[in-house]
């Protein structure tokens, strides 16, 4: 019956919401501080951020060597 299938569907929605409501959450200030920390700690190892030189970046044009 269509009635019982919408009850089943509704039960699933309620179950899911109960699960989500019960989650342990962190304050945004703490979470944001951790995101910032991660960025700063890994900044040196981020070639697109630091602009890696031609020598080490395979896609950038190589500087031409000239024979003296």
């Amino acid at each position: 019956m269509s009635g019982s299938s919408s009850i089943t569907a509704m039960k699933k929605v309620v179950q899911q919401l109960r699960l989500e409501a019960g989650l342990n959450r962190m304050k945004v200030s703490q979470a944001a501080a951790d995101l910032k920390q991660f960025c700063l700690q890994n900044a040196q190892h981020d070639p697109l951020l630091t602009g890696v030189s031609s020598r080490t970046n395979s896609f950038r044009p190589q500087k031409v060597c000239s024979f003296l």
Binding site: I7, L35, N42, G51
Partner: protein, 353 residues
């Protein structure tokens, strides 16, 4: 009977009101912890300087719109798929095409490179995800070794190998995601919950465990437990289809790109949206997003043919890249973070560094 009908509608009403009150409680709980904005926390962080990023390689060869691309772990090979039904494997250093296969369908919307580099997966309007082993034997026909792995009841929108060549995760227009065993084609787990087409997915970085995030036409981003099939968190702040989702490198957050012309950052431990990347002048949808290695930069491809580079912490745009002559449909940073590749409806792929 009349009394049964009455009983059912009472139960339904009771469930509906419980659902409403739970939703209200969720909002309250999330709001309580919203004590600051990410950009405020990042106020003292040094601003980023000027970026010089240019197209370093252009990959030409597709006969129609490029819909998807993926990098090989060797940091140089790329697989791309197109509306014309072709899937091509390129050496991005030399721009040579190493393999090409023609799919039996048009609109190959998804493609992925296997972790070993020895196979690729793809699919689209055929509702399937197929795996092709890559062979360098000129006498072998790549299409002959094709293995059909996933079967959906609508188009395949995204696919990704898990940490090995043995399992594939798929997303589909049928509203579900699924995990498959490549060898047997067996369905290992299915993920139900989206109310409309699922358009994208991304696996959590391996250190953070067995979860993945998906985004769909229902404007929701959902985080799933791969083992149980359970949705563990859901976010609904976008105002239109979510075209792309990508985990922040630490695994604690993910970014999304949407047809509402914004990209957003959701923190998983705070369980809420913590940043919006938007400008009044940006009115076209974001189709594809990816982070630089440190997570400081977010690259986003848009339907107005541009790529915007965002400072993830400060929430401001730091660069705008022109070059494509039609919508940018796909974008991924290389595995070693030295470059990123974009694919477009202009039939080409560009590698930027």
């Amino acid at each position: 009977m009349a009394s049964d009908g009455l009983h059912e509608s009472e139960t339904l009403a009771a469930l509906r009101s419980e659902a409403e009150s739970l939703k209200g409680k969720l909002e309250e709980e999330r709001a309580k912890l919203h004590d600051v904005e990410l950009r405020q926390v990042a106020e003292r962080v040094e601003a980023l300087g000027q970026f010089v990023m240019k197209t370093r390689r252009t990959l030409k060869g597709h006969g129609n719109k490029v819909l998807c691309m993926d990098w090989c772990r060797d940091k140089r090979r790329i697989v791309s798929s197109s509306q014309d039904g072709k899937v091509i494997v390129w050496d991005s250093f030399t721009t040579n095409k190493e393999h090409a296969v023609t799919m039996p369908c048009t609109w190959v919307m998804a493609c992925a490179y296997a972790p070993s580099g020895c196979a690729i997966a793809c699919g689209g309007l055929d509702n399937k995800c197929s795996v092709y082993p890559l062979t360098f034997d000129k006498n072998e026909n790549m299409a002959a070794k094709k293995k059909s792995v996933a079967m959906h009841t609508n188009y395949l929108s995204a696919c990704s190998f898990t940490n090995s060549d043995m399992q594939i995760l798929t997303a589909s227009g049928d509203g579900t995601c699924a995990l498959w065993d490549v060898e047997s084609g067996q369905l290992l787990q299915s993920f139900h919950g989206h109310g409309a087409d699922v358009l994208c997915l991304d696996l959590a970085p391996s250190e953070t465990g067995n979860t993945f995030v998906s985004g769909g036409c229902d404007k929701k981003a959902m985080v799933w437990d791969m083992r149980s099939g359970q949705c563990v968190q859901a976010f609904e702040t976008h105002e239109s289809d979510i075209n792309s989702v990508r985990y922040y490198p630490s695994g604690d957050a993910f970014a999304s790109g949407s047809d509402d012309a914004t990209c957003r950052l959701y923190d998983l431990r705070a369980d809420r949206e913590v940043a919006i990347y938007s400008k009044e002048s940006i009115i076209f949808g974001a189709s594809s997003v990816d982070f630089s290695l440190s997570g400081r930069l977010l690259f986003a491809g848009y339907n107005d043919y541009t790529i915007n580079v965002w400072d993830v912490l400060k929430g401001v745009r730091v660069s705008i890249l022109f070059g494509h002559e039609n919508r940018v449909s796909t974008l991924r940073v290389s595995p070693d973070g030295t470059a990123f590749c974009s694919g477009s409806w202009d039939h080409t792929l560009r590698v930027w560094a």
